[in-house]
């Protein structure tokens, strides 16, 4: 993949905001790949966790935001548990998700949820799902 870098990208305010919301220092990541290896959903992510970190280091926030990765992260913390630098990609993805939700970009329409799911699924799944997918 060819990437054109500019100072404005690398020092982007958007990325600094992700760092502030997540409490993570993106520059700590040295791309060992443990997070993607341990992530149970990386197989379905358009941009897997390790690459999320690298692209954010390079200021490519819009590309990461447009991918499905942040909506697929289940917050199981396997990435954080196995990161030799103590980074939590889950927190980074949560920060991006929160950012999107705080702007009102819902991922799930409550009215579209099927009734059998609402009746049978544990309440915790519904409450947690609302917090992850609805603004």
């Amino acid at each position: 993949m060819k990437i054109t870098l500019s100072n404005a990208d690398v020092q982007s305010k958007g990325v600094a905001r992700v760092e502030r919301l997540s409490g993570e220092d993106l520059k700590k990541c040295y791309q060992c790949g443990n997070c993607s290896a341990g992530c149970p959903v990386s197989y379905a992510m358009e941009i897997p966790p390790t690459r999320v970190m690298r692209m954010l280091q390079l200021g490519k926030l819009d590309e990461v935001k447009a991918a499905n990765s942040m909506w697929l992260c289940v917050g199981c913390l396997q990435c954080y548990s196995r990161c030799p630098k103590g980074c939590s990609v889950a927190a980074v993805l949560e920060a991006m998700r929160q950012d999107a939700l705080r702007e009102g970009a819902d991922r799930v329409e409550v009215k579209d949820l099927p009734m059998p799911l609402l009746k049978k699924a544990p309440q915790q799944a519904i409450v947690c799902g609302f917090r992850k997918f609805v603004s």
């Binding site: 409490g23 959903v41 289940v74 396997q78 939590s88 920060a95 544990p122 915790q124 799944a125």
Partner: protein, 284 residues
């Protein structure tokens, strides 16, 4: 001995058998789970963005109420446990955040509660040796896969219930009950969690992999500690090779071994049927 108990929303609705079997087993082991006089939902997820203090107010309110009733709080659902324990740590360790959250909920909570999972109560307050002595109906010959999932264990420095990569607490309990615990690779992997809401493909794949991993090592029974793990595993069972493996809560296994009446264990409320296995093994 009386311990304050937070059931959480799911144990009041679709996981009643988890709640009742735990309460009955507690009495059989000599302690009473005293449900909090007033409680609300814990929020079902610990906010991973540290600036999201609003997400801490619901669990902090539970903790603050519980502190007025005692110094220890126990819970069963892994997610409630995760949220309450982590929130408790924030309230104890961060003066700034404690001030803001207490301002939201109009309380003066200081994080001085001891939040314990029911498994920890059994291990640390009662002792697995005592549990073993109380067993009347050993689960002999059952190869059981203890499924930890994520929330019971991670993040290690906050939860501290057991080693995050090689936990044994669940297997130790099953051993005390007379079963043969089977260690399997996916026992600490995610079941798909809240993606149950909008992504069946991922949940089926993840939970299916958990079941395959366990049955591949010889498990004939899956044992869980979380209603969402239970739901996802039972729902995804058809997709896995271990098609007929039943899934039960650990408190049902405990109640069974302690000799409680089968009717009170609520097996009929599970989506999978454990009775054929129990009959085959001569346990009932």
């Amino acid at each position: 001995m009386k311990i304050s108990y937070y059931p959480g929303c799911t144990l009041n609705t679709v996981a009643k058998q988890f709640d009742s079997s735990a309460r009955d087993s507690a009495l059989a082991m000599g302690f009473e789970m005293a449900e909090l006089r007033q409680w609300n939902c814990c929020g079902a997820t610990f906010p991973l963005a540290p600036d999201n203090l609003m997400g801490l107010s619901a669990p902090a309110k539970v903790l603050s109420g519980a502190r007025k009733e005692g110094d220890t709080l126990t819970t069963l659902c892994s997610v409630c446990y995760n949220v309450l324990k982590r929130t408790n740590k924030v309230m104890r360790d961060s003066r700034d955040k404690r001030g803001v959250v207490n301002g939201f909920i109009e309380e003066e909570y200081d994080g001085s509660l001891d939040v314990l999972h029911y498994l920890e109560v059994l291990r640390d307050r009662i002792g697995f040796d005592k549990v073993k002595e109380a067993v009347k109906r050993p689960l002999k010959g059952i190869k059981a896969g203890a499924y930890y999932g994520c929330m019971l264990l991670r993040p290690f420095e906050d939860m501290g219930i057991d080693n995050a990569e090689r936990p044994t607490i669940f297997e130790d309990l099953l051993k005390a009950l007379g079963a043969e615990p089977v260690e399997f690779p996916n026992r600490i992997e995610c079941c798909g969690a809240h993606l149950a809401m909008n992504n069946d493909e991922v949940v089926t794949r993840l939970s299916g992999a958990v079941i395959d991993s366990a049955t591949g090592m010889g498990a004939e029974l899956m044992v869980t500690s979380c209603p969402l793990c239970q739901y996802n595993l039972e729902k995804s069972r058809g997709a896995a090779a271990g098609d007929e493996v039943p899934v039960i809560y650990f408190t049902q296994a405990l109640g069974l071994a302690l000799g409680q009446d089968l009717e009170t264990l609520g097996f009929e409320k599970n989506a999978t049927d454990v009775m054929p296995l129990l009959k085959k093994k001569g346990i009932v």
